[in-house]
Amino acid sequence: MTFSRGILTRAQWQESEAAVTPEAVFRERRALIKALGMGAVGASLPGQVHAGILDLFGDSKPKEFSTQALEYAKASGFVTDEALTPETKVIRHNNFYEFGTGKQDPAANSQGMRVDPWQLTIEGLVDKPLTLGFDDLLRRYPLEERIYRLRCVEAWSMVVPWVGFPLAALLKEARVKSGATHVAFETLFDPEQMPGQKNRLMGGGIHYPYVEGLTLAEAMNELTLMSVGLYGKTLPPQNGAPIRLVVPWKYGFKSIKSIVKIRVLAKQPPTSWNRLVPHEYGFYANVNPQVDHPRWSQASERRIGPGGLFSAERIPTRMFNGYGDYVAELYRGLDLRTHF
């Protein structure tokens, strides 16, 4: 497996996107299946019942957040041969407790979120603190697509085509001071827009705003991406609009969403899940099949792929989610059992 900047050599695990079911084909199939299923139900109902029944089962959806097409370089370097998780699953199966703890809550409760205007500040141990507005997020740095595996700490996984730019680009522009060792991130705190922050029952008892952190070396790693898009379009709110972190060799909860603040620090910042349940969620949270979560094995994962309910796959989990070539050196000499 080789990858060097600028020169692309296809590794064993890489394959062209041609092997992936194109989104359009997938959508068509889905629409067909839907039409068949719902049509059969619908046709059997007398006319005046239609609206009522369909309303009852949520078919008349509330307004949907509108995403926009992005300009970016198509995935070339960081890709994988695994089938992409269809967009409909990526945008409808989310952990974003600010919008509720159920997997479908974020998509249901976030569609009215305002992401433009947005302010992302980069502060702390930097020579040039920055404030990026909404347009900066999409235009200041060249955007590229990267197809990464996403491994959730709950032992399910996806393959997601992100669009974004390396966090390193941002940190380089802000000029990190010597002595800095860590980077802290913070999600928007806006209880008016994020019902989970207002209501403990809905927000799962987390202290908000959600905070996450990386070591500076992790933050500067070429894999670490600031993502502004998904499937070629801007992110929907449930996936962390307008900008989120993607750290593909760590469990999903490290990839903090809807970021408003990045602080460069000289010490390890406290992080939300680590503070709440330290014996279950460590600061590093590197994907590691040898270290189980107290309540489930991490040795394998259920891949949420293109198929139906019974065609999912249980696959072995790889060390660092398969990205060891790029990141293993960051942890040399560190006992990953204690620093999980």
Partner: protein
């Protein structure tokens, strides 16, 4: 008002419907693509809560029969208990088939290794024993031992909510409500419970 023998079949039919409808709703939600992008967790949680709801309903029967002075109501208890067992089996099946994808060895090793699964599996084991001996013939044959065995439902009533409580990440309010409700249901029969415990001990 009293429950008459003539009304009993209707009440039973109504209860069957009340237990079957949520299941139909679940199937419809999944089939019509309204159970989320990946309905696996949804189905597992739904059937798990269905088990707890049916168990709570089962445990409501005798206090309710006494309070309303409707002795006939007791005859609905087996029906609800069997629905509880059915939901429990579906819950386990959903976990095994949709989450573990029939990795049988993993099912066994996980149940042994994870305390919250030990608790859940023990509860389901009790429900299985009760379901298998729920028939009139078994009751006749077992005599006094039948009641002794079926008192184990009180243990299941503790294991279920504890399993739920233990399985969640941080959202503990709903499991706490279940735990409280079951403690109340057991408190209502504290005399009987103490007697059972002193005999068993």
């Amino acid at each position: 008002m009293r429950l008459t023998p003539k009304q009993l079949p209707w009440l039973k039919a109504l209860l069957h419907l009340a237990c079957a409808l949520p299941l139909c709703w679940l199937i419809f939600q999944v089939m019509s693509d309204n159970a989320g992008g990946d309905p696996v967790q949804f189905i597992i949680h739904y059937t798990g809560k269905g088990t707890l709801n049916a168990l709570a309903a089962t445990l409501c029967v005798s206090p309710l029969a006494r309070w309303l002075k409707w002795p006939l109501l007791i005859q609905c208890r087996r029906l609800l208990g069997l629905w509880c067992f059915a939901f429990g089996v579906l819950h386990l099946l959903a976990f095994l088939s949709l989450d573990l994808l029939f990795a049988w060895s993993m099912l066994l090793s996980e149940i042994v290794k994870r305390p919250y699964l030990v608790v859940g599996a023990s509860g389901l084991l009790i429900l299985t024993a009760l379901a298998l001996t729920s028939f009139k013939a078994a009751q006749r044959k077992m005599g006094r031992r039948w009641q002794q065995l079926h008192n184990w439902v009180y243990l299941a009533a503790m294991l279920g909510p504890v399993h739920y409580f233990w399985s969640v990440k941080s959202e503990i309010i709903e499991p706490s409500i279940y735990l409280g409700a079951f403690i109340l249901l057991l408190y209502l029969r504290r005399d009987r419970l103490m007697r059972w415990l002193s005999i068993t001990a």
